[in-house]
């Protein structure tokens, strides 16, 4: 259980949110030119780091907006929260 600072609504309990997996995965420009393995890599393969990870989250039981979050998966410490389309923090 931890608190997440929604960039739209403010600080809320984690139970109001749903995790949307790894962030910043770029869709290939020409999917038809990819092999099945490359397409599967884009579609299914995700990192599952123990440590700092860039993730997408949705405030499902609040404003229903998607946003990005930098979270340490080993201790749930949130390093940054930023809106979709914004650049990820470098530090």
């Amino acid at each position: 259980m931890f608190l997440i600072n929604c960039p739209y609504c403010g600080e809320r309990d984690q139970s109001e949110f749903s995790a949307g997996g790894e962030a910043h995965i770029v869709r290939p420009k020409q999917p038809t030119e990819l092999s099945d393995d490359q397409w599967a890599e884009f579609l299914f393969m995700r990192k599952n780091i123990k440590g700092v990870q860039f993730e997408r989250w949705n405030h499902a039981h609040g404003c229903r907006k998607w946003f990005n979050m930098v979270r340490d998966t080993s201790n749930d410490k949130i390093h940054a929260v930023y809106k979709m389309g914004e650049k990820p923090p470098t530090k």
């Binding site: 609504c9 309990d13 139970s15 039981h61 609040g62 404003c63 229903r64």
Partner: protein, 186 residues
């Protein structure tokens, strides 16, 4: 709103808590992104569109709640005459949806409004909400969308110790029973 059937039709009183279903109430969901849309709804409803998160604005007849940066929830203060309700919906539809400024959806049957009054209402809410009501309860007009006993709700702090809670129709009977059960022990 033709042949509206209220699922609860009841009022219950406990020590310092009064819970009552208030229906039928006009409820309209408004969605739009651009500045023209925000100006238009303010003009059509004679109300300032709340753009700050978790806020609302009201006039004598209507309340407009902020739900997200591109979504608002409009509801009437009083039980509306069906003719009045339809004319307001038509007016908004013609001025907003038809000209593609945004969307106007009548959600009167979708949400059920439950009014909670009394000094212990926040104790009742805290029994089932993960939301921190410390600042909320002293801010008149504050709005929040959260979970209440695992059910999605919209809560509008109408006045001190007087709030309106909106719950989806299919969950309303269950939430009503749960609230009555919990209120007995507060």
């Amino acid at each position: 709103m033709l042949n509206f059937n209220a699922p609860i039709i009841d009022t219950k009183e406990y020590s310092e808590i009064k819970i009552s279903e208030i229906e039928p109430i006009l409820k309209i969901n408004l969605r739009g992104k651009n500045r023209d849309f925000i100006t238009k709804i303010g003009k059509e409803l004679s109300i300032i569109t709340p753009v700050d998160p978790n806020t609302s604005s009201s006039n004598e007849k209507l309340n407009l709640l902020w739900l997200s940066p591109d979504e608002w929830f409009l509801y009437s203060n009083d039980k509306l005459d069906i003719k009045d309700a339809n004319s307001l919906e038509d007016k908004l539809f013609n001025e907003i949806s038809k000209v593609k400024l945004g969307s106007v959806t009548n959600v009167s049957d979708h949400w059920i409004m439950i009014n909670l009054k009394g000094t212990k209402i926040f104790e009742l809410l805290s029994a089932g909400c993960p939301f921190n009501f410390n600042n909320f309860k002293n801010s008149k007009g504050a709005v929040t969308q959260t979970l209440f006993n695992h059910i999605d709700v919209i809560i509008h702090n109408k006045n001190i110790n007087n709030l309106n809670l909106f719950v989806r129709r299919s969950f309303s009977s269950h939430l009503w029973s749960w609230m009555n059960d919990s209120a007995r022990f507060i």
